[in-house]
Symmetry: C2
Subunit: 557 residues, 2 copies
């Protein structure tokens, strides 16, 4: 009796990324034999994940249940929503559904990884079925074009998944949010809403992208000097506005930085970016124009060491030397953790005499995420029975829960989960289970995915703090006669050329230790321990440092 | 004719710390055979100064001219003004002049270093002579008690040195700024002002410390739960207010954290902190009181890993376990660079169910530095002929210069210097010289001062990114026969237990390399190079990583 079985089945909602963090968003929906994935992002490593390039979700649960996976649907093209896709596809096969621009960015990424995929273009207002799930797409305004929300009809009820959004009544591309349809979905009854909490701690409203256009327009109109403007390469609307302003003000635009060049190419090909005729020039050509005729659009809003803007600030950029009077605009805000890197770049630009305009002193940027009042509007339209805040650290999630409660939602209907949490729902009830699925942070270092774990990171931390010392010695295996050493090799401990006497003293100490060791007739492995602990003690006493000590004791016949 | 010689002499003002940075403030005044030092601070390392504990100014110029140094005068007791004192005294002898509380903190510091010093207590309103300089002291309001500004009468005119300040019309201790005397000094004529730029980029006014008192009062009155409050240990006034509020609300106070305990002891002994009778209890005793009867004052406002608050958040504190309903107040703001560490602590506290109040959501902190309008007041009272902004990154200094210009000061009379700059003045003119004195950043790592330079830091960076691999091999010196190895030892490269095959493969590659080396009859040192470059290439190919490679090739007879 399949009917009966079905009645006992429940929907499981399982975020495996994006909770208790900002980044690597990935949420699983499971009902019976069907799994639907929403988004598959990456994040940047914490400052203590030394040497790590990026961090992705742990896909173990999907690997174990790969036969159930019906599809991956993507809300929008930001890295924290698409950056994990190539790594997922290295593990399992899954068809991907995304809007045109989002697909363009994903294809570009997959080409770099040389991965083929089953890609499906979807557009706002469309509906399609994936297993037992029926997905309806809705256009959302956000800081990247072509962003979607999803209304997922499941066997136990509708789930409304906002994706990242802000409420922009005057979007650059004129594509507004369909409030009527969202309200209608609310009327039809929504069992669960999952919503973006990134800006839940900010009061009021996020200003429209149009505000930045006005502000940049004033800057363009007001300066006869060269303009260099750094922004997020995914922000197609912002780049469009800069192109339009350049045209209006009789300036040529040059693009600088690989990710910006890629975006301009993809967005132009797909029709999202409309470059005014004769506006774009090659970086090599800018020297043929007056300063008043040039705008350079560049990357490096986060003070990344290798980015174009940082290289300009350091005087290391091949094509651009910062001059006094240059107007440098940061049309961006620092991601938490990057504040100091960004300040460093600003200071260097100013030191070279540039006028630097950034969001603290001019309206050169607006956020792409909904603030408190916008979240209230979304909750008031959708009116879900249950609510799970997504995308944020604990403080963001808690604040978003408080906002929902302030609108009358009972506290028991709100679920603050963690990565790996299982929210189980039937049509009437919902509960966070005590068990969890695997959902850690998988570190990617170069080509290696997951081969650097916490123990390796801890070794790197110790190496980074006080360096390494190798004790080399060679013994005759039979007579235990010392044939070579003890010699010391160090990196990262002290400046050896000037402070080498520390090592000379240490060698004397180790020599004495070896003599005692002979007297006691220690084994080679005991000698290793004795040398290591003697050196550790000596160095700590002399410097208060604790380098990694590697005894390399060899024996020969 | 000494008179003639004197006429040709000029005053030199030379900051050796605190410019193009926030921290390690130290400014030298030199006229003829007299040098006066104002402040001697330390700063915390940048995130890329791996393993470094603190950073101090380079005192080379003072060592070279030690016979000229007449005294060190200190504005106030913050670490960026006194933290370098023990290190300076390890290099040169110099009498120190500071207010009572400041001296108390300095003495505590010198005791730790076991250094005796020639200390002189001064108080606001006093004047004293040091060589050719006559120093007048003025009380300033700031986030530590007993802060001073200095009016330094030099042979070429008066120099007004604000020190760190804010304009607090309602200070907790009732000690106001003597605006009348500052205005009078302005009337007498000031040649040069050097002033705090920390908050030059903030518009308006910094609120009074009294605002925090009101806000904390409301929190205390409104909760029956346990209160844990973290603040800067140097903020005596804040701690006084918390003690008073505890008394009013029938709560006991326990102090947690070594620096807070030290401050409470010193400030109480010197009469700056007045603990209401029966209020203070030992940490061990708090378990004998109800939650509603307890306030814990603690350290850890910056998310420092070993601080009391961080250990509470991590569930690692011996005496305090965070409970749901605990009210945790951060009466502080994160120093730039510490935002993520602080967020991490907040999230963990919230995760344990605590209500966490901090400055973004309640008025639990005010700055100690003057904002734009306060700086305008100071400039308008002092009306100096020349101006050099101090204490700040380039953007703060530039902004402060803009503020001075907005008040009518000619741009040519404003000097934005750098550490090591020499501003030379006679009574009429001032100029920044093209030469500079030595003024770098000296890194302190454990006991070592200056023995870790950029090359060692770069080694630590490489070690931190991809770890280290040692290639060990032993040859017969005569026959060049391989007696041992090639063996590989790694730390921080890959998780060897699970990914050890990488090293096994590498050993095979190195074995092949050695065979070729024999055929070519390479020397030992050539073999070292060949092994190193083969391993480097192999590891990069397999992992995209570039560990430090240390060949340890030994030869025996």
């Amino acid at each position: 009796m399949p009917e009966k079985k079905k009645k006992n089945m429940k929907l499981r909602v399982m975020p495996i990324g994006g909770l208790h963090e900002v980044g690597k968003n990935c949420t699983l929906f499971e009902y019976g034999d069907d799994i639907l994935i929403v988004d598959c992002g990456m994040t940047f490593p914490d400052s203590d994940m030394l040497g790590i390039d990026i961090v992705i979700p742990d896909f173990s649960y999907l690997e174990e249940n790969s036969s159930k996976v019906r599809g991956l649907i993507i809300t929008h093209a930001h890295e924290d929503h698409i950056g994990g896709v190539p790594y997922l596809l290295q593990k399992i096969q899954v068809p991907i559904y995304a809007s045109r621009l989002t697909l363009g960015f994903i294809q570009n990424k997959l080409a770099e990884f040389k991965i083929d995929a089953d890609l499906h273009e979807i557009e706002a207002g469309q509906s399609f079925r994936l297993g037992c799930f029926r997905v309806e797409t809705l256009h959302m305004t956000h800081s990247v074009a072509d962003a979607l929300a999803f209304c997922i009809e499941t066997p136990v009820g509708k789930v409304f998944f906002t994706g990242d959004f802000k409420i922009d009544y005057t979007p650059v591309d004129g594509q507004k949010i369909d409030f009527a349809r969202i309200a209608e979905i609310g009327d039809e009854g929504v069992l669960l809403m999952l919503a973006d909490s990134t800006n839940a701690m900010r009061r009021g409203y996020t200003p429209s992208e149009a505000v930045v256009g006005i502000s940049l327009g004033n800057i363009f109109a007001g300066t006869p000097h060269r303009i260099i403007i750094a922004t997020f390469s995914s922000n197609v609307h912002r780049v469009q506005k800069i192109m339009d302003l350049a045209k209006e003000n009789g300036r040529k635009v040059a693009i600088c930085g690989r990710s910006m060049e890629n975006m301009v190419r993809i967005a132009t090909e797909l029709g999202y970016l409309n470059i005014p005729a004769g506006t774009l020039v090659d970086m090599k050509q800018i020297k043929n124009y007056l300063d008043s005729e040039v705008v350079i659009i560049t990357t490096g809003t986060q003070g990344e060491p290798m980015s174009a803007l940082t290289r300009m600030a350091n005087n290391e950029h091949r094509d651009v030397k910062i001059k006094p009077n240059d107007v440098v605009i940061l049309s961006s805000s620092p991601v938490p953790g990057n504040e100091n890197a960004v300040s460093g770049v600003l200071n260097q630009l100013m030191d070279k005499g540039a006028t630097v305009l950034y969001n603290d002193i001019a309206d050169t940027h607006v956020s792409g995420h909904a603030c408190e009042e916008e979240l209230k509007l979304m909750h008031s339209l959708v009116r879900p029975k249950f609510f799970m805040p997504l995308h944020g650290e604990v403080r963001h999630l808690r604040r978003h829960a408080d906002i929902a409660q302030s609108l009358g939602m009972p506290a028991d209907n709100i679920f603050i989960g963690d990565n790996g949490s299982i929210l189980e729902l039937n049509g009437d009830t919902a509960a966070l289970l005590s068990e969890k699925i695997t959902a850690g942070a998988v570190m990617v270092d170069g080509i290696g995915v997951g081969d650097v774990g916490n123990s390796v990171i801890n070794e790197r931390k110790r190496l980074s703090t006080s360096g390494v010392v190798v004790i080399a010695a060679t013994f005759d295996e039979g007579t235990k006669e010392l044939l070579y050493g003890p010699e010391l090799y160090t990196r990262g401990l002290v400046y050896v050329k000037e402070y080498g006497e520390l090592l000379d003293e240490a060698k004397i100490v180790l020599g004495e230790v070896l003599e005692h060791a002979y007297e006691k007739d220690l084994s080679i492995s005991e000698m290793k321990d004795v040398l290591k602990s003697a050196l550790k003690k000596f160095i700590y006493h002399k410097t208060n440092r604790e380098p990694v000590i590697l005894p390399v004791i060899t024996t020969v016949y």
